[in-house]
């Protein structure tokens, strides 16, 4: 469960990105495609070359959605309701036995790596913990309607 302190930390960390959100999103996706090649199967129509417009565009979308989630951190279920429907019914990104480790968790790992490379020491254990919990909560909401 996200505590008040967790929520504050997540908002703080997000605030430190200072306009680089788009880059962060694109980089997280790029890292995900390279560390977890099966995730590419959800984007067969994408140009996968470095700096691809599609990756940038999609990264921007993902990060905007996370930004919205962070602004509505007290009601993730509602804030992400549309996306939850989309992932469950249209995209059907595999949840792999419904344990927390599923494709969306790979994106969470890569997003955290991007945050860590940009923030270095500032990505403290407490911040790491808060963001990890937040991304788990986001993944849970997105998985809610799978069945």
């Amino acid at each position: 469960m996200l505590t008040a302190e967790d929520k504050k930390l997540v908002q703080q960390i997000w605030g430190k990105l200072g306009g680089a959100e788009e880059d962060v999103g694109a980089e997280a996706l790029w890292r995900m495609f390279h560390s977890y090649p099966p995730t590419k199967t959800y984007f067969p129509h994408f140009d996968m070359s470095p700096g691809s417009d599609q990756i940038r565009g999609h990264g921007k979308k993902v990060v905007a959605a996370l930004g919205t989630a962070i602004k509505n951190i007290d009601n993730l279920s509602q804030a992400l309701s549309e996306l939850s429907n989309l992932h469950a019914y249209n995209l059907r990104v595999d949840p792999v036995n419904f344990k927390p480790r599923f494709s969306l968790q790979f994106l969470a790992q890569c997003l955290q790596v991007v945050l860590a490379t940009r923030l270095g020491k500032e990505y403290s254990p407490e911040a790491h913990s808060a963001v990890d919990k937040f991304m788990s909560a986001v993944a849970s909401v997105l998985a809610e309607k799978y069945r």
Partner: protein, 147 residues
């Protein structure tokens, strides 16, 4: 039989040469205990684990973190025989320590984030991809002798 390209090996050993096993190990284990507090169940005799600060400063955590990462260093010296390298440790973790192998994957991901925070820009997507492969294989090797 795992296959490593020369480039992959270079990305591993090149980075490893710049890692302080003691600092990195301590940090990784501390973060495991902070971010996934249920893992503290394996360390009842470690003393004060009551807060992130306590965990980060705990000498037993630091010592054990160093031990764990030193063993990781052995794997890096034996990239072509991870199974052999971890055979005994796998039995130990199953028969004596009773550790759910899922914890190896958690620690692996945490190690990646610690490396990312430490090396920032130098922890490139290519670097991350190779290291994710490595931690995955180490986790697999450690789980191999479970019965």
């Amino acid at each position: 039989m795992v296959h490593w390209t020369a480039e992959e090996k270079q990305l591993i050993t090149g980075l490893w040469g710049r890692v302080s096993v003691e600092e990195c190990g301590a940090e990784a284990l501390a973060r495991l205990l902070i971010v996934y507090p249920w893992t503290q169940r394996f360390f009842d005799n470690f003393g004060n684990l009551s807060s992130p600060t306590a965990i980060l400063g705990n000498p037993k955590v630091r010592a054990h973190g160093k031990k764990v990462l030193t063993s990781f260093g052995e794997a890096i010296k034996n990239l072509d025989n991870l199974k052999g390298t971890y055979s005994k440790l796998s039995e130990l973790h199953c028969d004596k320590l009773h550790v759910d192998p899922e914890n190896f994957r958690l620690l692996g991901d945490i190690l990646i984030i610690v490396l990312a925070a430490h090396f920032t820009k130098d922890f490139t997507p290519a670097c991350q991809a190779v290291w994710q492969k490595l931690v995955g294989l180490v986790a697999h090797a450690l789980a191999r002798k479970y019965h």
